[in-house]
Assembly symmetry: C2
Homo-oligomer: 261 residues x 2
Amino acid sequence: MRWARIDLNGTPSYAVVEGETVIPVRGSPFEAWERTPQRLKLAETKLLVPVIPPTFYAAGMNYADHVREVAEKVGQQPNLPTQADIGYRTNNALIAQGEQIVIPADATDQVQYEGELVVVIGRKCKHLTRENALSAVLGYTIGNDVSERTWQKSDRTLWRAKNTDTFKPMGPWIETDVKLEDLVTKIRLNDKEVFQFPTNHMIFGVIDYLVNMTTCLTLYPGDMVWMGTEGATLNMKHGDTIAIEITGIGTLSNPVVREGM
Amino acid sequence: MRWARIDLNGTPSYAVVEGETVIPVRGSPFEAWERTPQRLKLAETKLLVPVIPPTFYAAGMNYADHVREVAEKVGQQPNLPTQADIGYRTNNALIAQGEQIVIPADATDQVQYEGELVVVIGRKCKHLTRENALSAVLGYTIGNDVSERTWQKSDRTLWRAKNTDTFKPMGPWIETDVKLEDLVTKIRLNDKEVFQFPTNHMIFGVIDYLVNMTTCLTLYPGDMVWMGTEGATLNMKHGDTIAIEITGIGTLSNPVVREGM
């Protein structure tokens, strides 16, 4: 089942996507809901960010080759994480499928994509176990953890490297029927595939993170966890289009512009 | 003017506090509002966390003596920040005036308070200047940035050191009439004053942070910025009460319990 959040005559509304048809609902996937009689065409529907989370979690360094690549870029020794310590991103930076990634005028040319699986939490939960952790997940979507690598190296926190406005494209929708082990992430820069990797080949998997996080904290409906990316990444420049596909979920595609050009 | 958020017959409501009287409003301080005819007694009113922010910002290392103290505790060289790089905390950890700080059973005895000024943003804004930055502020409240120092030392991120459930007491209300240079922060552990400091003696002040942050990101109504703490901090244990007063704003007081005791 595919949950989209759409612009319905100027108001955000949840909707079920079935093929090329969009069916608005009353309510939301996080509570009671029912289909309305309306039927929209997907191609004519404005998709919004599929959820605005109470808290925006991000795993960060969670694929071995990417840890080595980033360490090399920022001039440090690679340091594989030994426990599932979660990090954070911020809502101001979220944009939807099709919206523009805006590179600030003072950024360098080292602005890069990171294609990521996004876990969307469906219910309030704490002290999850390995057995019941996935039952707390509503579904999965796709995130692009856009990063300015010189700021990532120079700043004490990741605030502008990762959380500049428009640096967190997410969508196109939340897919509830997913077999994690079957997923493949494919990155296309200007329609050319530049990298692919098995999405679930993480250092710490979805269950590892959810179990560890909920030892200390309560997760709420709509919270989301970005699971990190693999491999090397390339610069994006004004006029590019960056697309992240995760097989079985969909494709998140965004044009890139530079401020002032 | 004092803005509280209260439990009004089971529903959160904003209210104006005048002396010992609480006046519920329709609407909120972030949009249109009007007073209702109701009058409640402050002593009989349940105060809630005064705002649930879209994004929870925190300055972290922002007072010189505290930077030196923490560096010593975690066994690193003190490293005074050279730019106003903002960090983050999370909403799951927020509790209100009077609510219990719960130390997890697996925490060490190194669980410590940090008394902080909290800046609450009143309007959507970007590219603030030194001249107009404070006009984006609705008002100020008080935060206690509770921290488990061994986790702060061992983990790759601050997730459980700082963001364990109940580790972010905040309140009691938002005060709009504040002269930053006049504020004094006073910490009382079990009614004994253990430390005080001039609140505004920050490495980077409120204006510095707001101007720098909004070069890259949009702030939204209800976003908040915790401004850091000064000096050494002490352990809190089961049965303690920790109170943070900021003169002219109020006092945030919370009992401490340890899980399983």
